[in-house]
Point group: C2
Chain length 375, copies 2
């Protein structure tokens, strides 16, 4: 079985092996040492001087935590909504009584920074702008750099769900002035799910001071205070943090730039294969994380996904909401190399052929190899 | 290094090894099969027909989740507060605008069911009673059976934080009519921290219908709905759930009654050792989970704890709040047998001797062996 889903992603051997070790206790110097190394590694990934909070939760928990720590009922915020995860920002905010201005973006497209600037000008009371780095449901990558340039000129903070993109796409938090970056363990960070990360700028911390929404488990102030002693306020997911230590070592050894370049090449190869197979790549600009491709109705995305899985052991993701049954998504995320993605492409073309799609076997691979062998 | 803390607890070999396997994806039939087996095992542990919700969070997250799913601002509740974890119930409730009637219990003692009955009679508007099964900070076990008998005659629900006690103490949820039972992975369930469990009675589900507190990540209704398809609403902590599958197999093989009896014997042996060493056991009635013992001031609990750790590799827990520096707590919880606890007792007596306490080496062990060899 091979996983080509946008999380969880395959685990490197050292990450897996680290999980088989005896548990350590979180109130020991041994754990504090691990925690300090992990902090260091996360700052490297976030490209930030901010401390990175580590929550025992999946990504959605960190999204909720950010809302309840920074905002207050009746605050007005802007959500860029171009897919399922944009919608999640709207849902969470509304759940907590926050007034949401929705910037609807057609699924597969991205928001332009100017539009956001215009909305902020017309609504100077907006306290926060919510976006994704990668909208995983459509495969596109947002231009966070340009969006941040616009937002930083206002009093609003920019909050980016980088759960699927962190580590696979460029997102230098401090340099771009992104106020809140949220990450998850089970994506490019190559750790099982169960950890989420939040990094806050000074501007975000100031907004936090005025928040009146109640929180306890999610309380960032308590988490920040605990960090100074190498701890978390409540029992952390110790084994996953130890796994993260291992994965961060692997990441630092390869180097962030090279990792992003590798993801980019795998993404290019996947898109080239899709094109050569006559499949339209859905969404633009495409991310380094996942490639969505439109499957002709007579073939059926779900049938294709099922065949790739059952016959070739290649697990892909289908479409969500109105894209269900229309696209498949192949992730090239995390612990993945050329041969992995070539394997997925082979499974794709063989399965297409078997389902009666007119395909020249090897033509997807040829296009991919042309990209991969150039490097 | 050997862990004698009330969580995390040592991991059985199969649990550890399961963590070293490749990750599986949570939207597959493979995962749903694991999830179904885990559901079954949890119902066995909870002794309940209720489905058990599995959260990617540590225990405190599940405590908060229970409050925000069941209650509404200005509701009145009763908290039995006999230690740090009782206080946590008060803090969480107050954070969310709930009016708390506190039944203060001297640390080391437990609440009597009659007192609770009286308070409920005087305050018929109380919607929920919050208790611990084991108050881990003092080592005592509450008489949940009697408390439940009183609460079930009223309109209030009984919510029990059984995080440290679940699996080590008897708590047949359905038979005793406990409305909400909360558990954690890193205690008698012998899994790394990062999972929490909540089981709700029909009465608790009815109260949930009237709750107006907002929740998203914690939303029990969504979780219950997902359960029917073998899923969770958001990405679950897959590797920990796979570990739980292994530990539940081990638990079912030994059998719950035998496990509780084993914990009880280890606890008896530890208390007998303390007594024979002239150390007063703190708190009554003592739990099967952890034994707190008062350390004479001239020895110093923190010095003792440090020596046991540094010289003998035995990790114990100290006291919390005003008990800090006054007690040490030795847990006999989870994957632990006679020789484990005898090792901890040996480390205790050798360390006491080295710190100048008048001790006959072997006398703690003798008392413990008398208990353990009787069985």
């Amino acid at each position: 079985m091979r996983i080509f889903t946008p999380g969880p992603t395959p685990l490197p051997e050292n990450v897996k092996i680290s999980q088989a070790r005896e548990i350590i206790h979180h109130r020991t110097s041994e754990f504090s040492k691990v925690f300090a190394e992990v902090q260091d590694g996360l700052k490297y990934i976030f490209q930030s001087q901010n401390e990175v909070l580590i929550l025992a939760a999946s990504g959605t928990g960190a999204m909720e935590a950010t809302v309840v720590n920074l905002l207050s009922p009746h605050d007005k915020v802007l959500v860029i909504e171009g897919g399922k995860f944009g919608e999640r920002w709207t849902e969470i905010n509304r759940t907590f009584g926050i007034e949401v201005v929705v910037l609807k973006v057609e699924w597969g497209k991205v928001a332009r920074a100017e539009e956001i600037g215009d909305i902020l000008k017309q609504n100077p009371e907006i306290k926060a702008v919510f976006a994704q780095l990668v909208e995983t449901s459509t495969g596109v990558v947002y231009d966070i750099k340009s969006i941040a340039e616009v937002v930083k000129e206002t009093s609003a903070v920019l909050i980016v769900d980088a759960i699927s993109g962190l580590g696979a796409e460029s997102l230098p938090q401090d340099q771009w002035a992104v106020d809140v970056v949220i990450g998850g363990s089970q994506k490019a960070l190559m750790v099982p799910p169960g950890l989420a990360f939040v990094s806050l700028s000074e501007k975000a911390r100031e907004l936090m001071e005025s928040s009146t929404l109640p929180c306890y488990y999610w309380d960032f102030k308590k988490a920040i205070k605990s960090l100074s002693t190498g701890q978390t306020p409540y029992t952390p997911a110790v084994s996953l943090i130890c796994a993260l230590k291992e994965s961060l070592r692997i990441i630092r050894e390869e180097g962030q730039e090279k990792i992003i370049r590798r993801h980019n090449l795998l993404a290019q190869a996947t898109r080239a294969a899709a094109n050569n197979l006559g499949l339209r790549v859905f969404g633009f600009p495409s991310s380094n994380v996942v490639t969505a491709m439109v499957i002709p109705e007579e073939i059926g995305a779900n049938r294709l996904k099922k065949l790739m899985w059952e016959k070739y052991g290649v697990l892909t993701a289908g479409g969500q909401a109105h894209l269900s049954g229309k696209i498949i998504r192949i992730a090239h995320l995390g612990w993945m190399d050329n041969l992995d993605i070539l394997g997925a492409i082979s499974a794709l073309e063989m399965s297409l052929g078997q389902l009666g799609y007119s395909v020249e076997l090897g033509s997807g691979i040829k296009a991919a190899e042309e990209i991969l062998s150039k490097e």
